[in-house]
Amino acid sequence: MEVLDIIKPENQVFCKSKLMTDTTLSYCPGCGHGTAHNLTMEVIDEMGIVENTIGVAPVGCSVLAYDFMNIDMTQAAHGRAPAVATAIARCWPEKYVFTYQGDGDLAAIGTAETIHTCNRGENIVIIFVNNGIYGMTGGQMAPTTLEGMRSSTSPYGREAKTMGMPIKMTELVANLPGVYYATRQSVHTHKHARKAKKAIKKAFENTRLKKGLSFIEIVSNCNSGWKMNPNESNIWMEEHMFPYFPLGDIKVNGKLK
């Protein structure tokens, strides 16, 4: 059988969501951002909520999310997406509001906004793509960079004594009463992507039910920033990122696991 015989709609498990535009993704080949975008759009499409959905893009590689997601979107200042989303959700309580943020955006410069938005239990979804590095600016150390991991600003490896240990944001916010759902997922295999999509769907369902804040971390690769090819980066992610950032639910229906 030829490959082209297999690529048929009936055989496709994953395809480009109708809510993705035809604009060529600006992401490096192999990067997890594109998959995370697509899954989010699939959920919004399947739930039939596009008319009532407003996305908030961060500053980071996904700053151009609005070029790829065919929905209404506002691009926020670096780290401030949760504040932007707070106001939209407060002014439009019937809408579905989500932020899409990187680890530098959410866990460094925007830490205060993240924590307080979570603490207030804003009725929004936060999608947090943790690739352990500042992808956009060329591979500097992020708050989530692993101990010993090299980056352009930790060229000899992150040293815990002077640079601190990587921050586990999802565990941290899960402890806040305002957070209803906190989970850590990945999108690097079909199996993982399917689970991540389920989590995203659950999060938007929570918004519909006005349950408060849903926080979805997606541990992802940055093959360019990590200076690896896509496959190597995924293997490295499994071997190094997952032990420190274990996948799975941390808080479900308002209860810590």
Partner: protein, 374 residues
């Protein structure tokens, strides 16, 4: 129903916001403007009009909340005082860049740094010369009374939506804290969500219906597009200068000497005009109501008539630069102002006119002429 009340400037502004049908207020406490959010929290506008009021975790969060609400076409505002405004500047630059309507209030206190909680006008440069990064300007309204604290809320939103641009109400601790009589306007209905969607469907991010998606951003990675955005902003500012420059003149018809002062300083300068006239000095006053756009034309015209100008400001000399630009060296110009939270008296202002302009005027005039030969 319009209503006569005795109120603090900050409270009058807060009440005016509710009555103007503002959809949301986001703020963070700081003296001397905390009464704004305190008043709003006490009044529970959520019950009166459905207005959202939220105490943010910082001024940074508050201005980004303003950005968020504004991006959906809602009528939204924030207020703060000097150090807090410094924190908001990145967000203000984004609001200008993304072309969003919003109102920001600065009840100025003395600086730099933590400075003093006493009144000041030391944020003039920050307000009219940019402040945040990039090629943008704020439309700046300077109230001089509690009445104007109230009236300017609606005026500010009119301009903000006319141009889709941020508007700053530049007040100070004196106007914010003092009590005066104020006529409050009638309650305006807030727009319903449906009305907002209908009115601003061409740009607001309220959810993609059967139209192209709306995007709010200040980013243009293509230089040509970015330049086009900057040009679009500059066009707005030109139009503001032509159509929406505001000022007030006091006894300028026969004036030989001119005070230029805004906000609280203009009240003191007005008294100084009266004192001067009692002494036989024909003084007058121009009060810029908008600091950008600046009333350049009237100053340029009066420069042909008067012998000298004193820029009276509660700072070390900031607005004087705009006075100088306006009069193009036709007359001597000097600055007078106290700082540190000290408010000058009318007597001090008059004395400054006599010492810095009337006594020295001819010498200064001579100097400017000399330098213009070079």
């Amino acid at each position: 129903m319009s209503e006569l009340k005795l109120m603090k400037g900050n409270e009058a502004l807060a009440e005016a916001a509710i009555r103007a049908g503002v959809d949301a207020y986001f703020g963070y406490p700081i003296t001397p403007q905390s009464e704004v959010i305190e008043y709003l929290m006490t009044e529970q506008p959520e019950k009166r009009t459905g207005m959202v009021v939220l105490q943010a975790e910082s001024e940074i969060a508050a201005i980004n909340m303003v950005y968020g609400a504004a991006s959906t076409g809602k009528k939204v505002m924030t207020s703060s005082s000097s150090p807090g405004i410094s924190l908001k500047l990145e967000g203000i630059s984004y609001i200008a860049g993304a072309e969003l309507p919003a109102v920001i209030v600065n009840v100025v206190r003395g600086g730099p740094g933590l400075g003093t909680i006493q009144p000041s006008q030391a944020d003039y440069f920050q307000s009219v010369k940019g402040g945040g990064h990039g090629d943008y300007k704020l439309y700046v309204l300077a109230p001089a009374s509690v009445q104007e604290m109230s009236d300017f809320v609606e005026d500010a939103f009119d301009i903000a939506f006319k141009y889709r641009a941020p508007v700053l109400i530049l007040s100070d601790g004196l106007i914010g804290q003092m009590m005066e009589k104020v006529v409050l306007k009638d309650q305006q209905e807030r727009l319903t969500d449906e009305e907002v969607i209908k009115k601003y469907d061409s740009w607001a991010t309220t959810g993609k219906t059967n139209r192209e998606r709306n995007i709010i951003t200040s980013l243009d990675l293509q230089s040509e597009k970015m330049e086009a955005r900057v040009h679009r902003l500059m066009k707005k500012y030109e139009q503001m200068e032509l159509e929406d420059t505001r000022y007030e003149e006091f006894q300028t018809e026969d004036a030989e000497y001119l005070f230029v002062a805004y906000g609280s300083s203009s009240r003191i300068a007005q008294k100084a005009v009266k004192l001067a006239r009692k002494k036989g000095i024909k003084a007058g006053l121009v009060r810029p109501i908008t600091l950008f756009p600046y009333p350049k034309k009237v100053l340029f015209k009066l420069a042909n008539q008067v012998k000298g100008i004193l820029s009276v400001e509660l700072n070390a000399g900031q607005m004087i630069e705009d006075v100088l630009l306006s009069v193009e060296h036709k007359v001597p110009v000097a600055h007078f102002g106290r700082t540190g939270g000290i408010i000058h008296t009318p007597e001090e202002v008059l004395e400054a006119l006599e010492q810095k302009i009337i006594k020295n005027g001819s010498i200064r005039h001579h100097k400017t002429r000399e330098s213009s030969i070079l």
